[in-house]
Symmetry: C2
Subunit: 350 residues, 2 copies
DNA sequence: TTTACTTATGAAATCGGTTTCGAATAGTCA
DNA sequence: TGACTATTCGAAACCGATTTCATAAGTAAA
């Protein structure tokens, strides 16, 4: 911040003394909370600039019980999906004069509990939970109680759904996402479309599956359960690879695969490759998340983009609205968009 | 933290009153800084448990000028390399009773300056800078001055090198990394080995290039500048793709490529693929970073692993040592290791 | 039982800001 | 110029912990 004479940080009192005013006046200059005679203000501002003085955030937080900090509890930033979302939040927060702090739960509920406590201790003004327990449809009673306890002090914003709490929710319109993919594929003539990866107790996955069925119904295409591997799996490369292998043993007539995210899609592509099945000539592959990997694979992946910037901004906007006690709709949706690349093409004629 | 009666957080004073002791005693129980008669301690501990009381971190930090927080300034967590390193730091810090906060500079010096200031304001006990300006060999005077200014208050640990500062350095032994790759490739019979990606003003890249030349010399292999694309490029997919295309126009006799990281390697692989060159039968491809992508590509990538856990631990250990004023060697190296997968094989006989 | 010494504890200062409240100063109008 | 109101400003309390210092209590030795 500033060296002071010999390493000790400068305080508001030092500035006050040198400017010949009271600390209160310096504080007023700093926060613009009240008018200060121009000559004094300028003197104080000059000193602030001279020493590059930055007020101690801890003292500030203690005094006004607003820390201008938003805590983000993510499942795992090593997943590029969360990393992108976090960076988007960081940017939006900075523009709004807020700071974000990140913790990773690594998917363990015990960590979520611990880190939630830590965020409370730090007196963050709001907490955004990205993924993790809040994504589960069947949230445990204890977790709901914990969140409710936290909520009595700090607003909590989640990307999933937490029945039994008054959390605000900002999330992707998964139904729309599935609709975009299905429209795209069906427009290309695909009728036998497989679903790979994920678990039904995760809200987004559940919704996608529902929409899948609905669209089939609307188009009078029979629902073939053997094409659908959307439960009991995970969201990783291995799942895509394994489930695609299984599908290929059962089916020879599918023409498209919707993977639950880019990781899974890469597993699917590996499996197809090993079976010498061409993408997209024989089978089209599409997925969700549109991480940078979508650009790097061969062929490049058609994927649903979650508009991370907008998503992050909505998360932060909602957080700040709640901090400031402004009314907001309890649920805000982010509209996904489709990025068509090389991995999807016309259904082959058989 | 705790509900209190109606939303207000419990303080040490509330506990003290209810336990019939002074706040000082409660503090002593909390910090174990002094002995407290068992009966009183138990009473206090019972209340702490009853209300699930957690002391206010801000007040604590203000009072003892130790926040038990380490700031991490990373270039971009969306890069899995930094994400892995950050998570490793987070884990190591947690075990040591510290908390880490993350900021992303997104490669912009202005952001680095701003965020460095923010970290100072927050009174973090130490700052770890991952990548960014500190990686540059030619660090600007102003940046060195800034770091020195910060260092007068807070220890700074960097993963690069900052001449003119007394920063502690913890970094990868890049020479060793290059040696591992070269030994591996040369053991497989490769003699014409290309280098792709990176810039020479980045320390790690510079060192790798040096070692590359040295090993060629030791093995009496002539240095062919046209095989070396290790300057003026970036660290991304595009660079790998573009530079590999260029190389293929010039050379038909190279048998191996060392890419500067996994991203770049994927670009290289795409280029090779489009030229119908088989990996590793015709050309072997190896790289650095060993991110999860190395497992997902076809063929799986031989890559240098940076032992993120150890790396993170050393960063945190060094930070804490400096915070506590313990002497430590100013430079600590992390030893990389080689993970052999499918993308490297015997040199083809021509 | 008294004296000497150790240990436990509370009162109060401190960290560095913000904010309330009342006093002092400046500005307005007659 | 005097009376009255509007601004500006400083003193002091406060946020919630830690820590020093002096006192009270407990223990051991004489």
């Amino acid at each position: 911040m500033q060296k002071g004479s010999e390493g000790k940080a400068i305080t508001i009192y030092d500035i006050a003394k040198e400017a010949g005013v009271s600390p209160a006046t310096v504080s007023r200059v700093l926060t613009r909370s009240a008018k200060v005679r121009p000559e004094k203000r300028e003197k104080v501002e000059a000193l602030i600039a001279k020493y590059n003085f930055k007020p101690n955030v801890l003292a500030k937080g203690l005094a006004d019980t607003r820390t201008k900090t938003i805590g983000v509890l993510a499942a795992d930033v090593r997943n590029p999906y969360y990393a992108s979302l976090f960076v988007a939040c960081e940017q939006a927060a900075r523009e709004a004069g807020y700071t974000v702090v990140l913790y990773n739960s690594l998917g363990k509920t015990e960590n979520e509990v611990e880190l939630l406590g830590k965020l409370q201790q730090q007196k963050v003004d709001a907490i955004i939970q990205l993924g993790g327990r809040v994504d589960d449809l069947s949230s445990s009673i204890e977790y709901v109680e914990l969140i409710n306890d936290v909520m009595s002090t700090i607003p909590v914003i989640v990307t999933g759904k937490l029945d039994g709490t008054r959390c605000h929710v900002v999330r992707i319109d998964s139904m729309k996402a599935m609709e975009l993919l299905m429209d795209h594929l069906m427009g290309l003539g695909h009728r036998k479309i497989a679903l790979v990866g994920g678990r039904q107790d995760v809200l987004a996955t559940f919704e996608k599956s529902q929409m899948y069925k609905q669209i089939l119904r609307e188009n009078k295409i029979p629902y073939d359960p053997s094409l659908v591997m959307d439960d009991g799996g995970s969201y990783d490369f291995e799942t895509g690879y394994r489930q695609m292998n299984e599908l290929l043993e059962k089916h020879t007539d599918m023409t498209a695969v919707i993977a639950v995210n880019d990781f899974t899609a890469m597993g699917v592509m590996k499996s197809l490759n090993e079976h010498s099945i061409r993408i997209p000539q024989d089978i089209s592959v599409v997925s969700y998340d549109n991480t940078y990997m979508a650009e790097m694979v061969m062929p490049k992946l058609t994927s649903i983009d979650y508009n991370y910037e907008e998503y992050g901004r909505k998360l932060i906007d909602t957080s700040i609205a709640m901090i400031e006690g402004r009314k907001k709709d309890a649920l805000r949706m982010v509209t996904p968009s489709l990025v068509v690349r090389e991995s999807s093409g016309p259904a082959p004629v058989r």
